[in-house]
């Protein structure tokens, strides 16, 4: 049974066949590639027949299993696990695709490339150097900001250490964000160097391990300091207490700091343990001076904002007095 649109229109508006014929010719001239096929323009089906069609369709639907509604069966246990893994990986990729995580991806990839090239150097030195140079050039070309990250990291940490004797600096939130991304970049490159214990030892591998341990130690201290003062800016009225040292962030970066010192200890030649002792003194002094600065910074932000609030209130009262 064919449904005739023109019949529906004719019955709805109660026009006679003559008027609808004219209307049909007008529509056909306006739409040369007609939507409706010419042979279907018939005054055959009435509205009541449309209702009959609807009832027939309802009967057919009720005869179907499940009343025409197809129930999707639940996943099996294995299916649920696979779906869970898929959603988890999809979530990770969605996060990685964000622009704010670009430096992390490049840092991780460069770190893995560096680790592989050091390992390849043991097998064939020429091949290892070629792979290293290629990976380095490729990463710099694909991510030119990497040079700025390295420059910013050394400016904030090493040169800051020589100028001020500490990593501590008083920065605005935008400066902290850019500093944090540079520190994250360096940390993600050199954290793989802590796994260099599995690489057969040669000069390059030892140099890579020492450089990685020193840079991971310094960047873990710097990252903890910068992320903590960022939280101070986010919430200036935060109540500080001694329980803050047992936070997850502190324990993770304390763990990284300890791991870097442990890796260095492994490499200390026989008889040089007093030199390593000096290095431990130096690094723990850096760690403590940075950690002790965080609650002081929170206090400073809290008090300076309080003062600004008080002076703004007095300015506002003065203005109100003038205007009223």
């Amino acid at each position: 049974m064919r449904i005739n649109v023109w019949a529906i229109i004719a019955n709805s508006f109660r026009v006679d066949g003559h008027v609808v014929a004219i209307f049909r010719r007008v529509i056909s001239s306006v739409f040369p590639y007609n939507i409706l096929v010419a042979s279907e323009l018939q005054f055959v089906v009435s509205l009541s027949e449309f209702e009959k069609l609807e009832r027939a369709l309802e009967q057919k639907t009720q005869q179907e299993s499940g009343g025409g509604i197809r129930i999707i069966p639940p996943y099996s246990r294995v299916g649920r696990v696979l779906v869970g893994i898929y959603e988890f990986l999809r979530g990770i990729f969605v996060k990685l695709e964000k622009a704010e995580n670009k430096h992390l991806i490049h840092g991780l990839l460069l770190g893995v490339a560096l680790f592989i090239s050091v390992w390849l150097f043991y097998i064939n030195p020429t091949f290892g150097i070629i792979v290293f140079v290629f990976m380095l050039v490729y990463h710099i070309v694909s991510y030119p900001d990497s040079v700025r990250h390295v420059q910013r990291f050394f400016g904030l940490t090493i040169f800051g250490l020589v100028r001020r004797g500490t990593i501590i600096s008083i920065l605005e939130p935008e400066e902290i964000e850019s500093g944090l991304s540079s520190i994250e970049f360096i940390l993600t490159i050199f954290v793989w160097g802590l796994l260099a214990v599995f690489i057969p030892q040669n000069t390059i591998a030892i140099f890579y391990e020492v450089a990685s341990a020193v840079l991971v130690g310094i960047s873990s201290i710097a990252y903890y300091y910068f992320s903590s003062i960022n939280k101070c800016w986010d919430d200036p009225t935060r109540e500080i207490s001694e329980r803050d040292i047992f936070s997850y962030d502190f324990l993770v970066f304390f763990g990284l700091f300890t791991a870097s010192l442990a890796v260095l200890y492994r490499l200390v030649p026989l008889g040089f343990h007093s030199v390593f002792g000096w290095f431990v003194v130096f690094m723990t002094y850096l760690f403590l001076s940075s950690v002790m600065a965080i609650p002081n910074f929170q206090t400073a932000v809290s008090i300076s904002l309080r003062w600004r609030g008080i002076s703004s209130t007095s300015d506002y009262d003065l203005l109100e007095g003038i205007l009223s």
């Binding site: 010192l261 723990t284 206090t299 008090i303 008080i310």
Partner: protein, 183 residues
């Protein structure tokens, strides 16, 4: 006047003590090198003649005293010059940051200057003494390093905990003072 002097003194301590710590740790580095164990390890690198090595090891106390006299004379002069240069850089930075950030940096240094002397005057000398003492004990290297790690990390937690407690107590006091002043 006394309060102003206290504020200035705290700011000065906060700035200078970190620089002093850093350069003092660099100056005492040779003391860690001039030990028989290190010299024995360096023997094959730097000493071609056994007589040269024996000359150095037998006269080690003389070398140590000579270096310490050099450190306290020339080193003190050098540290004084460094602190003058650092002081000028500090004043310029405070002026620039005051224009840019208001009084945030000043308040930070006042509060930080209150706690940094504890780190400098107590923690650093204790760490140095422990490392040198542990180096003298004739025990296995693993136990030696383990002892140093354990003592240091206990001290790290203790200092951090103490500092946070002092800060949270002082902050409550400072806030109540500010509230009293401003009604």
């Amino acid at each position: 006047m006394k309060k102003k002097l206290l504020v200035i003194e705290n700011i000065r301590r906060a700035w200078l003590l970190n620089t002093t710590n850093f350069f003092v740790l660099l100056f005492i580095f040779p003391f860690y090198l001039l030990t028989p164990r290190v010299l024995t390890s360096l023997y094959f690198v730097f000493f071609t003649d056994p007589r040269g090595y024996l000359l150095v090891v037998e006269n080690l106390p003389v070398f140590l005293i000579a270096y310490s006299l050099l450190a306290v004379s020339f080193g003190a002069f050098l540290l004084f010059r460094i602190s003058m240069a650092v002081q000028r850089a500090f004043m310029n930075q405070i002026r620039k940051s005051f224009r840019k950030r208001g009084n945030l940096e000043l308040i930070f240094y006042v509060v930080y200057g209150d706690c940094i002397p504890h780190l400098t005057l107590f923690f650093v000398p204790v760490m140095i003494t422990i490392v040198l003492f542990v180096d003298l004990i004739d025990i296995d290297v693993v136990f030696r390093i383990g002892m140093v790690f354990v003592i240091f990390f206990v001290m790290i937690f203790y200092f951090t905990y103490q500092n946070l407690r002092n800060i949270s107590r002082n902050l409550t006091k400072i806030k109540s003072l500010l509230d009293e002043e401003n009604g």
